[in-house]
Amino acid sequence: MAGPGRSRRRRRFTLIVLILASLTILTINFRSTGPVQAVGRVTGSVFAPVRDAAAWVGHPFANLWDSAFHYSEVKRDNQALQRRVDELEARKVHDQIDQRLYRQLLAQADITYLDGLPSVAAQVTSGPLSNFQESLAIDRGSGDGIKVGMAVVTDQGLVGRVATVAGGRAQVQPITDPNLSFFVKVYARGDKEDPGTTGEAHGMGTGRDIRISDGILSNVRVSKRDPVYTSGVSTSTYPPGIPVGTVSTVAPTTDRTQQRVDVNPYVNFDRLSIVRVVLWEPTP
């Protein structure tokens, strides 16, 4: 029988081994080398059926839960939907008059700002898995040509970037994630000749604006509601011209050499169901 001293030593040995293992994995992961990502892909694929089945079974309960905690939002949505139904009823008459026009409208349902760039539609299958994650899971993966770093969009604008990819699914890091930074251009509203000002933006957490904290000098004129697009600078992983949002607040930085610009994203991250992954990679 092991004495208390020996037992204590063994416990400490176990703890040290596990902590060292965690730190080693963290280090390998931060260096973005292959093994951790490969294991992650396998784990994601193994758990995919569990997540899909649970999502299918749990969807009605999740809706019920959502209704219970967001009753006022549901009521507001209902009113908005009722108004929309009324509008559609009125439009139905016009639609029946010209079927050809209807087909043309349907053909333009594709996202126009992508300007012919190849993209693949994907369904958002789940949100973050734990409290400190911002990622979304989508039901398309490397088999559909998706690679890490590709832009994810909706018809409203930029959603985020592909963070990890497995065979039939991928994780998306939204632009609201403080750990994601990307280059944007701010344009003067209504001025078609404006070449735009490039800055580096990053998220500030779910439900908050994104912030351009670097690149907008103090002598540049930036106003509320100015549109913001992806910049397409050479180091950017996104194609240029994807709408990001509109300027919500402008304030000088503490050293007053630049401006801190907050941007209200176009995309409503609470209501994401279908997104498109832009199959575009920057030319090396």
Binding site: S22, T24, E134, N179, T206
Partner: protein
Amino acid sequence: MTVLRVAKITFIGFLAVALQVSVAAQLPIAGAMVDVILIATIAAGLAAGPEAGAGVGFGCGLLIDLLGAGPVGMTALVYTMIGYGVGVSQIGVLRTSRLIPLVSATIAAPVAVFAYAWIGEVLGQHLFAVADVPTVALVVTVSTALLCLPARAAMAWAFAEDDVRQIQGIGRW
């Protein structure tokens, strides 16, 4: 350790991860979610001691890290220490009051949340901006307090010796 014991621990670990990704992730409360992995880790520490707590924290934490898009190994690191700490806090506890594990779990849960956020900041992850940490700590603490006793019972079952083999005198391996 018997094969059956390993199988039971593996089953409980996978069940905890499955519950986290399927149920807890879909039913947030005030923007925060119940942390089933933390509950399993604390329960293992309470039921079977520091090594069990650290082992479950490491295994389940690593699995949930691999499934998400965050840094792999961070949950494993934090929950290993929490599981170990909870286990150590039970050493020398002679009374079988239900209050003791409940108090341990109620202390360990917010410590785990703040430790995770702090270590994330140290590693440059800006986790205090990703989540409303006090709200997360509150939701996690209350849910852990409510669920730690049934979870401890499940972990006690998983870590229990193989009764049949013991009765029959068949050796362990």
